[in-house]
Amino acid sequence: MNHILRKLQVTFPQQASILNLSLCRATPSIQHPMWSTASINERQYRDMPTHGIGRWRHLLPKQASKKKKVKNQVKDLVSATDTAYGTLNVKVSGYDMTVVEHYSQYIHNLCNRLNIKVAESYALPTKSTEVLLMQEQGNKTFVDAVLKTHQRVVQLSSLNASLCPVFMDVILKNQPEGVQLSVQEHTEADYLLRFKARPELDGLIAQIYQ
């Protein structure tokens, strides 16, 4: 508002050279009718064309709420219906970790593409196997190699029975060498396998019930 006023005040002195002095003196007293009613400290009403001109926070993308989500939610077991299998575990295991991980990633991506809902994708603890060989000269065995079996599980929440043969065919044909594939139903025991054993708690429970 002020700069408009200033502009008017600037233009008038220029015109003063053309116009007579009486006009020049009269112009500063003329004020815009709207401006006379409003003062600088009052907010403009919504009808004002420039209402909310400086607003920018509504243009930012919505941020997720800061409330903490409950992690590791226990997902319910989906039971089998007439047209779909229930919760299935596709277990991939092998000695070579890169191959096993890449194959499990491939299965996960394939499920996404075929719109099969993947409930979870996790890894089971690695099992180490020591290969002991008999010495040629003596009876003693010595450690020859340590083989580590890596396991990855892709848990599907439900698999449509009509899609099952196609899915199985594709993953079987793309199975890499040295990798074992196993498709089983998910049970409570499978879920409990993921947890570490707590020896102190088990000891205390045994003491209570003895």
Partner: protein, 323 residues
């Protein structure tokens, strides 16, 4: 990639426990397999009066596949790319423990052979019985002693070949002589063997009597009352192959369908044509005990065209994956 699944005619539902593995070839040419059916619901029988009689009769066929046993050879571009990736990985990689020990040993040797070597200064620690280089040599030796199985399984063939042999230097008389020979014939040529083309997936074809003529097609059988289509497909497989062959069906839903009308002469009021539903199965490791009842062929997808009729081929082509 998704095969058309037109109709799920099966009513029963069975849960399977499947275990597939692709480890060493072992004795058989197939992957080790185990299937444990947990629960098999009894099929609900529907009374004939309820179902409206349709002029189409149903049949079920089985698409039995033998999966590849060994990895396929790389094409030239794939080989070059593989070499390039290996070289990049080697250049980016860090030195392993074994290589570090090799370097340390080499350094120790060079220090020992230096002129101003003082054995007392050297911090001996534990004397290694085996130097790292010796370890590497033993490993190299063991690798040389390992002989992998041949990629192409051959069968020794015996035969006779006629050869014109000249007897002696002076005599000009030559007479044809039959000499015995035995050579390793390529099993890839033998179409009836399941051991051929270990790097590709094969499909089983059987010659069956359809109407008046004998045709090469996927083993099929007519559907009977009271059984599911999948059971029909299993029956079709059992009737065509030997007793010892084990196959795992991939699901209760068919993967393809082919319908054809009977020739005008054979058409009646009740039957206009036949609908064949295809079920996929994977060959499990099993040595066939007895000879198959009908002539069988194991063919690759590229060879299917020579044996199947064109209309049939277009439908079957859609669900056989050539991976």
């Amino acid at each position: 990639m998704a095969a058309p699944c037109r109709k799920m005619a099966s009513r029963s539902f069975s849960r399977l426990l499947c275990y597939f593995s692709s480890t060493a070839v072992g004795s058989g040419a197939c992957r080790r397999f185990s299937v444990t059916p947990i629960d098999r619901a009894t099929p609900l029988g529907s009374t004939a009066a309820d179902r409206a009689t349709s002029p189409w009769s149903l049949m079920a066929a089985v698409c039995l596949q033998r999966l590849p046993v060994i990895s396929a050879d790389c094409s030239p571009i794939e080989q070059r790319f593989k070499q390039m990736l290996q070289q990049m990985e080697l250049e980016k990689s860090l030195v392993s423990d074994h290589e570090l020990r090799l370097l340390e040993d080499a350094e120790k040797m060079s220090r020992r052979q230096a002129a101003d070597y003082d054995s007392d200064e050297e911090d001996r620690g534990d004397q290694e019985i085996m130097m790292t280089q010796d370890l590497e040599d033993t490993w190299e030796q063991r690798l040389k002693n390992f002989h992998p199985a041949p990629r192409v399984r051959g069968q020794w063939r015996r035969g006779l070949v006629k050869v014109r042999k000249s007897l002696g230097v002076k005599s000009t008389r030559t007479s044809p002589v039959s000499l015995p020979y035995s050579c390793l014939a390529d099993v890839d040529e033998d179409l009836s063997s399941a051991q051929r083309c270990l790097a590709d997936s094969l499909v089983l074809l059987a010659e069956q009597q359809v109407g008046a003529e004998k045709l090469w097609l996927l083993p099929q059988a007519a559907w009977q009352e009271g059984e599911t289509l999948r059971q029909t497909a299993e029956r079709a497989l059992d009737s065509v192959t030997a007793a010892g062959v084990k196959a795992t069906f991939l699901g209760n839903a068919p993967c393809g369908v082919y319908k054809y009308k009977l020739p005008k002469a054979a058409r009646t009021e009740g039957s206009v044509g036949r609908k064949v539903f295809f079920f996929k199965a994977i060959l499990a490791d099993g040595a066939p005990g007895s000879a198959p009842t009908a002539p069988l062929l194991w063919v690759k997808k590229s060879e299917l065209q020579e044996y199947l009729k064109p209309a049939y081929m277009t439908k079957v082509d859609r669900f056989i994956l050539n991976l």
